[in-house]
């Protein structure tokens, strides 16, 4: 059984990183999926084009929330360009345009979800919201 509920994913679900208050963020964007009730907000704070803080809050399934937590961990410290590139890699990976995980061990924990098309949206919700916060003003 190739479960999606891998240790890393469960760890991020049970102990979410960078979750909660978004008051000190520069920009906040919302992602929601009315079909299943997932609804989260992603915020960033950047200095010199470098992401100092990436945070989220909201409700959703374990995959959605774990993905948001993993995302925050993987993007803090990146330049905004690098973050945008990583989002694009995630979209390609989950869109089956590329078959290899972006070279990041934490991200690989999300790979099992690729076998479940109906849940890809859960993974990507936070990433798409992040992408919007990164858009060039």
């Amino acid at each position: 059984m190739n479960s999606v509920y891998k240790t890393v994913l469960l760890d991020h679900f049970h102990n979410p990183r960078n979750k909660g208050d978004l008051d000190s963020m520069d920009r906040v964007k919302r992602g929601s999926n009315p079909r299943c009730g997932d609804d989260i907000e992603v915020g960033i704070r950047a200095e010199n084009e470098i992401l100092e803080s990436v945070r989220f809050r909201g409700r959703g399934c374990s995959i959605c929330l774990a993905s948001a937590s993993i995302m925050s961990e993987c993007t803090i410290g990146l330049t905004m360009r690098q973050a945008r590139h990583l989002v694009q890699q995630m979209l390609d990976w989950f869109g089956d345009t590329i078959s290899e995980a972006p070279s990041n061990t934490t991200l690989a924990a999300l790979g099992a979800v690729r076998q479940h098309p109906a849940r890809k949206k859960c993974v990507l919700l936070a990433w798409v919201a992040l992408d919007e916060t990164l858009e060039i003003k």
Partner: protein, 412 residues
């Protein structure tokens, strides 16, 4: 404990369904409210039709075409008898319950409605019995009114001000809720509606294969269902309509077979029911549907209802003993069919369904095409187990195990 419902050997019946022998792992299929599995007799009837009997319906004079036509019309009679309709001409084959409702909305209500009129539905309707009325009301300047639910999820008729009043043109109501399993008091509604001659449409998608349904004792004007939810094939369903109502109905689809004379600017429709069946009839679909109805009828819908209620009651009891589980709808009661919705505190229903799926238990999670009901329940989604007579207590045990497993994995 589970007891055999009357004298029917349901464990033997389970063997009629090839899917349960097809995989390496036991399939605990608890999603029959979405679509049911198919017995061998239905699968074989479709197979035989395409192998030996296939020809055009209503369109040929050679033996294959004649026997196809005869078989198709016999299928109509089987459905007629299945719901005790007064005449086969009152059975229209459609692609689904959804199409059947849209046919009444576009073909009947659109003509009947005037500005200020009302159509009533309930807060527990499936989107298929909600959206068509929403559109036709908006287009005609009428109001879509909603029968509220009480805290247990049952219709609160006393709070439905004007439901049986003289602005009401139609009441469209589900017979059985596909989320809560509640069986609505349709007979009471048609009786009260009849005082003001208000027509009633019954969405029987979740009832007709699961309990006795008799359109004459229900005294409804329209009734709809899909074959695929009652052991039949996909792509076919039916609309029952009282002759008088069908006469007032414009066809939804125009095309071959539904017209007597096509003139340059106007046309004369064919008789009923042909008028409502534009396009080449779905022969194998109708035959498979009829075999499914006959199969269910042979088991008996009374024993089926009892069996499915028993299974749901057992599951209800087992689940309610688990910490953090909320079951929606009224406590186990005669007003309950084999459908059960629940949630686990702090766990998203998608996770329940996914983990259950990983353990061979097929349940559904989501809004079940009932967003208005979800608003009433104050949750975006639920997990749902729906029982069919082919399920058994192993399926319930597997479901309970999956819930425990979910809590173990994701519980705080």
């Amino acid at each position: 404990m589970l007891t055999a419902s009357d004298s029917v050997d349901f464990d033997a019946l389970r063997k009629d369904f090839p899917i349960f022998d097809s995989g390496p792992q036991t399939l605990h299929y608890l999603d029959s409210a979405a679509t049911s599995q198919k017995p061998r007799c239905v699968i074989d009837a479709i197979d035989l039709c395409y192998r030996n009997q296939y020809g055009p319906v209503h369109r040929g004079l050679y033996p294959l075409a004649e026997s196809a036509t005869e078989a198709y019309e016999k299928a109509r009679q089987t459905i007629e008898n299945f719901i005790n309709a007064p005449s086969p001409d009152e059975i229209i084959f459609t692609r689904s319950a959804t199409e059947a409702i849209n046919l009444v909305a576009s073909g009947w209500a659109r003509q009947a409605l005037e500005a200020g009129d009302e159509i009533w539905v309930s807060q527990m309707e499936h989107h298929s019995n909600y959206l068509p009325w929403q559109r036709v009301c908006r287009d005609r300047g009428a109001s879509l009114k909603v029968i509220p639910l009480d805290s247990s999820g049952q219709l609160d008729l006393d709070k439905a001000d004007g439901l049986f009043g003289n602005r009401t043109r139609l009441i469209a109501i589900t017979h059985v809720s596909n989320v809560l399993g509640i069986v609505n008091p349709v007979e009471k509604i048609t009786r009260l509606a009849s005082v003001n001659s208000i027509p009633v449409l019954v969405d029987a998608a979740q009832s007709v294969g699961h309990m006795p349904v008799d359109v004459q004792s229900l005294s409804c004007d329209f009734l709809v269902a899909s074959a695929h939810k009652m052991c039949g094939p996909g792509g076919i369903g039916f609309l029952y309509g009282k002759k008088e109502r069908l006469t007032q109905t414009e066809p939804l689809l125009l095309g071959g077979g539904m017209v007597d004379q096509v003139l340059a600017d106007t046309s004369i429709w064919a008789e009923i029911p042909a008028r409502f069946e534009a396009g080449s009839p779905n022969l194998a679909g109708a035959l498979g549907f009829a075999v499914a109805a006959a199969y269910i009828e042979e088991i008996g819908r009374q024993p089926i209802a009892k069996r499915e209620q028993e299974l749901a009651a057992t599951a209800f009891e087992a689940l309610s003993e688990i910490d953090g589980v909320t079951i929606y709808g009224p406590e186990n009661s005669p007003y309950r069919s084999g459908i059960l919705s629940f949630n686990i505190d702090g766990i998203h229903p998608h996770d329940i369904a996914q983990i259950a799926g990983e353990h061979g238990v097929a349940i559904r999670a989501g809004h079940h095409c009932c967003q208005p009901l979800m608003r009433h329940l104050n949750t975006p989604s639920t997990a749902r187990a729906s029982f069919s007579f082919y399920n058994n207590k192993d399926d319930i045990a597997a479901l309970v195990m999956a819930v425990h497993e979910t809590k173990k994995i994701l519980g705080s």
